[in-house]
Assembly symmetry: C2
Homo-oligomer: 502 residues x 2
Amino acid sequence: MLSRKIAVEMTPPYDQDTTDASARLLSALPRELEPVQLDLSALRQLPAACRVGEWTVTATLSWTPSCYHVVALAPGRGDCRVYGIAIDLGSTTVCGQLVDLETGDVVCQASVYNHQIAFGEDILTRVFACKDQLQKLEEIRRATVSSIGQVMDALRERSGYAVETCGAMTVAGNTTMVHFLLGLDAFCVFAAPYAPWVTQPEPMPARSLGIDMAGYVYLYPCRANYLGGDIVSGIVATGMMEREKICVFLDIGTNGELVVGNRDFLLAGAGAAGPALEGGVVKTGMRAVDGAVSYVKLQDDRFALTVIGGGTPKGLCGSGIVDLIAQLRLNGKIDLLGKFRREASLVKEIHGELGIAYAPGLYFVQSDVDEFLRTKAAANTMVEYMMDQIGMTMDDVDRFYVAGAFGAYLDRESAVTIGLYPDIPREKLCSAGNTSLEGARMLLCRREIWLALPGILKTMEYIQFGEVANFVDRMTAASAIPHTDMGRYPSVRRRLLERGVP
Amino acid sequence: MLSRKIAVEMTPPYDQDTTDASARLLSALPRELEPVQLDLSALRQLPAACRVGEWTVTATLSWTPSCYHVVALAPGRGDCRVYGIAIDLGSTTVCGQLVDLETGDVVCQASVYNHQIAFGEDILTRVFACKDQLQKLEEIRRATVSSIGQVMDALRERSGYAVETCGAMTVAGNTTMVHFLLGLDAFCVFAAPYAPWVTQPEPMPARSLGIDMAGYVYLYPCRANYLGGDIVSGIVATGMMEREKICVFLDIGTNGELVVGNRDFLLAGAGAAGPALEGGVVKTGMRAVDGAVSYVKLQDDRFALTVIGGGTPKGLCGSGIVDLIAQLRLNGKIDLLGKFRREASLVKEIHGELGIAYAPGLYFVQSDVDEFLRTKAAANTMVEYMMDQIGMTMDDVDRFYVAGAFGAYLDRESAVTIGLYPDIPREKLCSAGNTSLEGARMLLCRREIWLALPGILKTMEYIQFGEVANFVDRMTAASAIPHTDMGRYPSVRRRLLERGVP
């Protein structure tokens, strides 16, 4: 556990022993915690705690590799259950969990939009907004901190727990988010030679970051500019770095990141795979919020839609897009290369291009399919390229983890049908959910993870896909639905044959 | 040295090595400094320093027992001379020195009145003012910090050096001053069982204390409520804890503190010896400022006075009082027990008691002598008692250090005459000046001192004089001028005999 809470009974000072209260406190703590340091914030609480608690106090401790720090003191024998906060610092959404460190249980959860959005919807706009602008950078830093603060407020409200007394907060975020939280210019993340200012910050007092919490903040380290703490956290969440068998970890968020490996090796890469999958580049695409179509079934030329929150459909979220394309393909509305078949029923011309109305007034057209397939192909090619690198095929893969909100809602079968996921036994396809948050939660409970992180980073080999020679050729092949090499997708070929779709 | 300044040339990142800048910085530092941690304040300066300095930066480091901290970064190959600030945090005066850490030289010096005085002239008033008053306590804390800030401003002005860039500040102050600087209630210092809240605070970032300086602050530890960091610093300044021969260290300030010992033992005690010696309880007493009589000679019934700053005498400072009493005794105006001799010339009745006019309109009367002798006796008895404790006499003493502004101006011969100092070879009587400040200066330059402090504290045995059985009897004997046992003062006896004084 990164934090401990311990009730301490001190002998009050008396004439024959006037040892100072700080020394009494430290020597009354369990031996196995040594060395322990009393931080100034806690020292200032010592007089009141001793007086009110009659020399029994409850100490909150934060662990760091060099020592434990007493970070807060409360009077008397308080509740010694230890809670901490896990944060997934996403560029769009900041999610947090209040976690019982002993059991690992999530007490409650909350998420807010990242306040950085005021400086630009996408991350690059934000980076440019504060490049060489110290004032703007400070504003973005504060927006980041206030987002975390809002999550804390929500957690406090939901749990009734004074979350600001927590002794530990773990934060997993990509390299840019880590830079912004620390108040560092993040232009380096996107400009050659892509060397970040920092990748492995030490644990630091929350208050030094402007976060109103007693304990320390532990930032998941980043491996490289595009392989941030969120991915390292995801690796930890899957446990792939400890397994014997090969795992694939695909995180599809605003970007796409991929890690292939096991306890012996970890090959990692990143690419701009995400926006389309989150509904970003599809005309009627939208985030997975109320009104978004999350599930699509097409039978006998009639659409059956599942709309988040019920009500009238307003657009497609990522899982809806994948479903829709899969259904269009299985019903012969689009062909192997993703082109609408003019002769198919329901297909019509819309504003000069072929497409289909999946709901009244809501269209999905050729350029939407094309855009989406480019992204799908990128993700697919990353995986394929990496498997080649290690001389393995999908048959060697024991687990195929898909992380991100996207992966959580996605219909596995549809994802295989369009060739986003490989055609392997479905039990090997794991929707891992928010692995960034999950890794942060795990780190709270097991400080061995923190100590293991430098080793994980060292094991991770970073591949920059932009430099791979035949990447574009591969992508073209992967732009088909599911793939130009149908032999890789036997189950999809079978279903298409069954349905008589060419 | 508690701080280092090192110019670091980094290899800029390039396509084949995109290691983050923080790691580049840390690995470019000399090996012997490891482990080194990059503090957040310095990390935030890293981008600008690398850009402007083209990957050559000058790092300021602060040492702590667990690691070095990089606390500031400046672009380019800067001046690598290291300066630090030594502070004597006195309850009346806050003195500071800007010190060259390599040579130990004092660049300049400054002192200001402690802003705490707004909360009470004497320390007890201040302590009561903020007892159980958190708001007041915070105000006193700020007054303490702003006093140090004012010293820093003066040092900056005098030296032209940007003192806020310093990597180390050492502070020596009594237990109450240490508590106030940390924002802690100091009532414990004066109330049974006299156990402080803290005596050995860890080094901490100056900014965590509200001090505008890049590096760390190192507080001299306190041994007990009345034996503060100023005394421990004084011990270090004299070097007595390393000597083979016995030394006596007497610090006469607002209080009187005494340490007797050598490298094998240190016996320490404290008593309310001070105010009278600083001119506090003498009616025409005053601080050693302009107008104060600092030196008195009486011959043929005529006074020769030295007045600080020249001009008309306004009162007596400590050294003037000692001189005056010595002269009165040597000229037979007062007797062995300190009583004015009604029959002596110049002696007259003033407001109902015997006394003398030492300058036009300035009187020194019987109650002044009595008051002063009580204090003198207390200091003297402390010394005597301690010598008895260790079974030694003044003949065994190799050095008799007298610290404090008082000691610096005091005429040795007069001090022996009135029995404040022992009658030993004069070269053994050392006016040590502001030993609190001197110990702080030395600590800046030698971090071995910091590591040795816990051992010094352990060696120090604390004697509470109030509990000593025959203390009052001893004091009565020591209230004489120089002492009822004239055998202890052969040189004074000789002079009195020469002059025919009974």
